[in-house]
């Protein structure tokens, strides 16, 4: 199956390892991955901060870049939600087959066991837009549960927002930091070595605090755990 990757500007610029993991994972599952070079950003930051006129050209660029593809995979719940849920309010019709990574694996490819190996204790934070906009439900947990060697531990208060919220983290920094502190406490209470999520922006926020506090817990995108194998560990 041919599939186009929308890597997202955050992953492209700051977390290329996530994009590489998606490519590795999808190719292992028999897909041919395209990366349209004219892609940049979905426009979410501008749109969510109120700058609709600035978001519009970015939304149009997305449609031009991905319009001809049957399936577009996005390793970010909030970017996929931006395209599917909010493009219409900009007057832009989103392309048909835009999937968040876990949706694509479970619904389109029909797999939950992707043949991954990751011998670590992991807890999973369901990011708000995956959970409440896309309603991905248990898909990421089903995928993680099928990973060999992985011990999945439940996160207390998992469905509570981590406090990132894009520019919220800068505009309302005190509340954002307080929410993050509670999330960090929840993560530490699990005793997990790795905090996993399907959105690197939330992980940049929680991970930034985990690292600042020298907790020794690392954050990993879902794609990186699913791409990991015995021969080629992440």
């Amino acid at each position: 199956m041919r599939v186009a990757l929308f890597v997202t500007c955050v992953n492209d610029t700051l977390f290329p390892g996530t994009g590489k993991a998606v490519v590795r994972l999808l190719e292992r599952l028999g897909c041919t991955v395209d990366f349209p070079m004219e892609q940049t950003c979905c426009g979410q930051m501008h749109f969510n901060t109120g700058y609709r006129a600035d978001a519009l050209p970015l939304a149009r660029r997305f449609v031009t870049a991905f319009g001809g593809h049957d399936a577009v995979v996005v390793p970010s719940g909030s970017c996929a939600a931006m395209v599917r849920e909010w493009y219409p309010s900009l007057g832009v019709t989103p392309p048909g087959g835009v999937f968040e990574l876990s949706e694509f694996l479970v619904d389109v490819l029909g797999v939950t066991d992707v043949g991954a190996y990751f011998p670590h204790t992991v807890t999973y934070h369901p990011t708000c837009h995956s959970l409440r906009s896309l309603k991905v439900g248990s898909r990421p947990l089903d995928l993680l549960s099928a990973v060999r060697g992985l011990t999945l531990v439940p996160l207390g208060g998992a469905e509570e927002c981590c406090g990132f919220g894009g520019t919220f983290s800068l505009k309302n920094t005190a509340v954002s930091a307080a929410m993050c502190a509670d999330k960090v406490r929840g993560v530490l209470d699990t005793g997990a070595e790795v905090l996993c999520a399907a959105d690197n922006s939330c992980l940049m926020h929680i991970g930034g605090a985990l690292s600042r506090q020298r907790t020794g817990v690392r954050v990993m995108h879902l794609a990186e755990i699913l791409a990991s194998t015995e021969e080629d560990p992440s």
């Binding site: 070079m37 940049t40 700058y51 894009g166 800068l170 920094t173 991970g207």
Partner: protein, 465 residues
């Protein structure tokens, strides 16, 4: 809206002092999580909740579409049942009407049922300046009034207080409002409730004017409906000779069949109960009593004219959105600078007052857009959608620095070539990534490490592959 909150700082400043109040954080966390769990349990057991929610939204939308018709129908029905109807365009007019009505009775004291509309217009202050003392009779409103405080929650106005603080307030202030609290008052809920009961009892028996709001007004019969948990509201609604009800024009439902939907939605969403304990309904005036209905606009028709924002008028003031909001839980109700705090306040206050100042402009940003509020709203108000729409109105009004930064970011992001150049520069300078970021970005690095850019961006890796 009222003058109570005039001069309040914008949300980021107000909430940052609330965040550092450990006692407040503890009180709020405990209280909101308790109600949240109760609500989730009773909503979960209702098999047709999704359909009820849809019906609630549809009834409210239909009512708002034909609001003129239903308002006149309500007026005619109330008048036919012996009540009098007054129309108030804004807070000032509503206060003037109520003050004049109370003055006409010759009374200088009134008892009040818990009401958001009268809080919104700051009626108590208007009455006080006319020499009329208003006594709040809802337990939580009593705590707020005695403590010379502000409500911080729609349903539980004293949610920011714990029982030892309440004991202090009762001991210190009850005496100046009537029967004092017993000197040996303990802080257990029973003793506190008993002290309040005795204090209020003499008020109920002596008051000759009662003032209320209403949760619903049924247009077909002119019936007003108040839901409460203590029975204190019913005392105020039945004992006095004169009853004055101040009701927002969006509180209408056309028929009793429509009301039935909300009688299921509201108790489960607000207090987490299957059925409301005290539901009072009255139609016009009973023999020997006088009833006045003051219908309040105060910005509502301007909200109604906004295609996206008008859904906020569906609100039945249940507070479910406050109780699930992670921002409310940390920031507390006072940070929202209005009697309407939390997610609903963040969309209602800037609409009712207009984007008139820094506080109102900051409220649409008082959310991470996590969507928990929309999920629990019993009338399906898409709060994130309204927040986003309000944000686009805020940025249209200036904010030059941010606009320039956002414009620059857009120019880079709208060009794969420029984006690639920016990525390569960041990659080359990665060893000098600062631990503390400059300017407004320092808000990030104060509590979080800054991600170090990679040597190579994804697109460069792909191109080399």
């Amino acid at each position: 809206m009222s003058g109570t909150f005039v001069g309040m700082p914008a949300f980021p400043e107000a909430s940052s002092s609330a965040v550092s109040d450990a006692q407040l954080r503890h009180n709020l966390r405990k209280a909101t999580h308790t109600i949240r769990a109760k609500r989730a349990a009773v909503v979960g057991e209702q098999p047709d909740w999704a359909a009820l929610r849809e019906a609630g939204a549809a009834v409210k939308d239909r009512t708002l579409r034909h609001l003129d018709v239903y308002l006149e129908r309500l007026e005619a029905a109330v008048v036919a049942a012996g009540g009098q109807v007054h129309w108030a365009g804004d807070a000032e007019e509503a206060n003037r009407i109520v003050v004049d009505l109370v003055k006409a009775t010759g009374e200088t004291e009134v008892v009040k049922v818990k009401s958001m509309a009268t809080q919104e217009i700051d009626l108590n202050a208007a009455l006080a300046s006319a020499g009329i003392r208003a006594y709040e009779t809802d337990l939580a409103e009593l705590i707020v009034q005695l403590g010379d405080d502000w409500p911080s929650h729609i349903l539980v106005p004293a949610i920011h207080r714990n029982r030892s603080e309440i004991r202090e307030i009762f001991l210190k202030h009850m005496a100046s409002w009537g029967r004092p609290a017993p000197a040996d008052l303990k802080d257990d809920p029973r003793a506190l409730a008993e002290a309040a009961r005795l204090h209020l009892r003499e008020r109920f028996l002596s008051a000759r004017v009662g003032i209320s709001g209403a949760n619903f007004a049924v247009a077909e019969t002119g019936t007003l409906v108040v839901l409460e948990s203590e029975g204190n509201g019913r005392m105020c609604l039945t004992l006095p000779e004169t009853l004055i009800s101040v009701v927002g024009i969006e509180k209408l439902v056309p028929t009793w069949a429509d009301l039935e939907v909300f009688m299921q939605l509201l108790p489960r969403s607000s207090t987490g109960e299957r059925m409301n304990p005290y539901t009072s309904m009255w139609t016009g005036a009973t023999e020997g009593q006088t009833f006045h209905l003051v219908l309040l606009d105060n910005g509502r028709t301007s909200v109604l004219s906004d295609e996206v924002g008008r859904q906020a008028l569906r609100c039945i003031r249940c507070s479910a959105c406050l109780n699930v909001c992670p921002v409310y839980e940390r920031a507390g109700g006072h940070s929202y600078g209005s009697v309407y705090p939390g997610p609903i306040g963040a969309i209602l206050t800037p609409q009712l007052r207009g984007l008139v100042g820094p506080l109102e402009e900051s409220l649409p940003y008082a959310s991470t857009l996590c969507g928990a509020c929309y999920e629990v709203c019993p009338v399906a108000i898409n709060i994130p959608e309204v927040l986003l729409d309000l944000r686009s109105k805020v940025v249209a009004r200036g904010h030059r620095g941010e606009r320039l930064a956002m414009g620059a970011a857009r120019r880079v992001l709208d060009s794969p070539r420029w984006l690639s150049l920016a990525q390569r520069s960041a990659g080359r300078l990665r060893r000098w990534t600062p631990r503390r970021l400059p300017g407004p970005l320092s808000a990030w690095s104060d509590t979080r490490d800054v991600p170090v850019p990679p040597k190579q961006s994804f697109r460069d890796w792909w191109a080399e592959r």
